[in-house]
C-alpha cells in the first residue's frame, strides 16, 4: 500500500551488569528502515526508566550473534536480534 510504512519488529536484549543496572533483559522495538547500532541505542533509551548505563564506556553490541560496531547497520527485514552488554569476561 502506498504511503503506509512497513514496520519490522526487532528484539533488543541485555546481559550481565547492563541487564541488572537498567532493570530489564529485553525490549522490542519497531524499525522501518536500516538503522545503526548507535541509533538503536537512542530508540531503546526512550523505553527505559534508567537508560544511562546503556551509554557507559565499553558497552558492546551484537547483531544476530556477531559482535558489531556502533556504526554497524541493522537491516530490520533480516535481523532478528540486537544485544547490548559489557565487555566479555569468560575463560
Amino acid at each position: 500500500m502506498i504511503g503506509v510504512k512497513q514496520m519490522h519488529k526487532l528484539d533488543v536484549v541485555f546481559f550481565a551488569s547492563l541487564r541488572e543496572s537498567i532493570g530489564t533483559d529485553k525490549v522490542t522495538i519497531e524499525l522501518e528502515k536500516e538503522t545503526t547500532i548507535e541509533e538503536i541505542k537512542q530508540i531503546v533509551a526512550k523505553l527505559l526508566d534508567n537508560p544511562d548505563p546503556l551509554f557507559h564506556e565499553g558497552i558492546q553490541a551484537s547483531i544476530d550473534y556477531n559482535f558489531a560496531r556502533h556504526t554497524s547497520k541493522v537491516n530490520p527485514q533480516t535481523v532478528k536480534e540486537v544485544a547490548f552488554f559489557p565487555p566479555v569476561t569468560g575463560g
Binding site: V13, F15, A16, S17, G58, S62, Y65, N66, F67, A83, F85, P86, P87, V88, T89, G90, G91
Partner: protein, 152 residues
Amino acid sequence: MVKVQKDDFNVADLYKDLCDNNQTGAVAIFIGRVRDFSHDSTKISHDSSFELEHYPGMTEHNLQQIVDEAHSRWDLHQVNVVHRVGELKVQDQIVFVGVSSSHRAEAFLACDFVMDYLKSRAAFWKKETQSGISKWVCAKEADETSLARWLK
C-alpha cells in the same frame, strides 16, 4: 566440537576424544579453573561463589567461529572447547581447550590462540560473590593486548 554446559567435564574423557586419529602426534590441553579471588589469603573462602552468565546462541556461535579460525590458520586434527556456565565455586574447572595435530608447534599455538579469543570474543560474563556481596568482573586490558599478538 564446542559445548557450553552447566555440568563439570572429565579431562580424561576429553583427552581420549582428541586421540582417535592415528596421525595424532601432539595434543595440547588448557584447563581454566576458579581460583580463590578473595584478597585475604589467610581466610578460607567457603563463602565465595562465582557465576558465569552467557548469551545462549551467541556464545556457541562465537566459540565455533574461533575454532573454525584456528583450523584455517593451522593444520589441526581436532579443536574441542567445553565451557561451563552457571554457579561455580573455588577450585572448580571452568574451561577446557584441547587441540590435536600431527606436530606439537601447531597444537601449542592453536590452544593459546583459542584461549586468547575465547577471553575477549565469546559472550561470557563472570560475577563473583564474596560474603554476600556480588561484583561483576571487569575485562582486563591485558587480554586485549594478548589478542593483538594474533593479528595477521
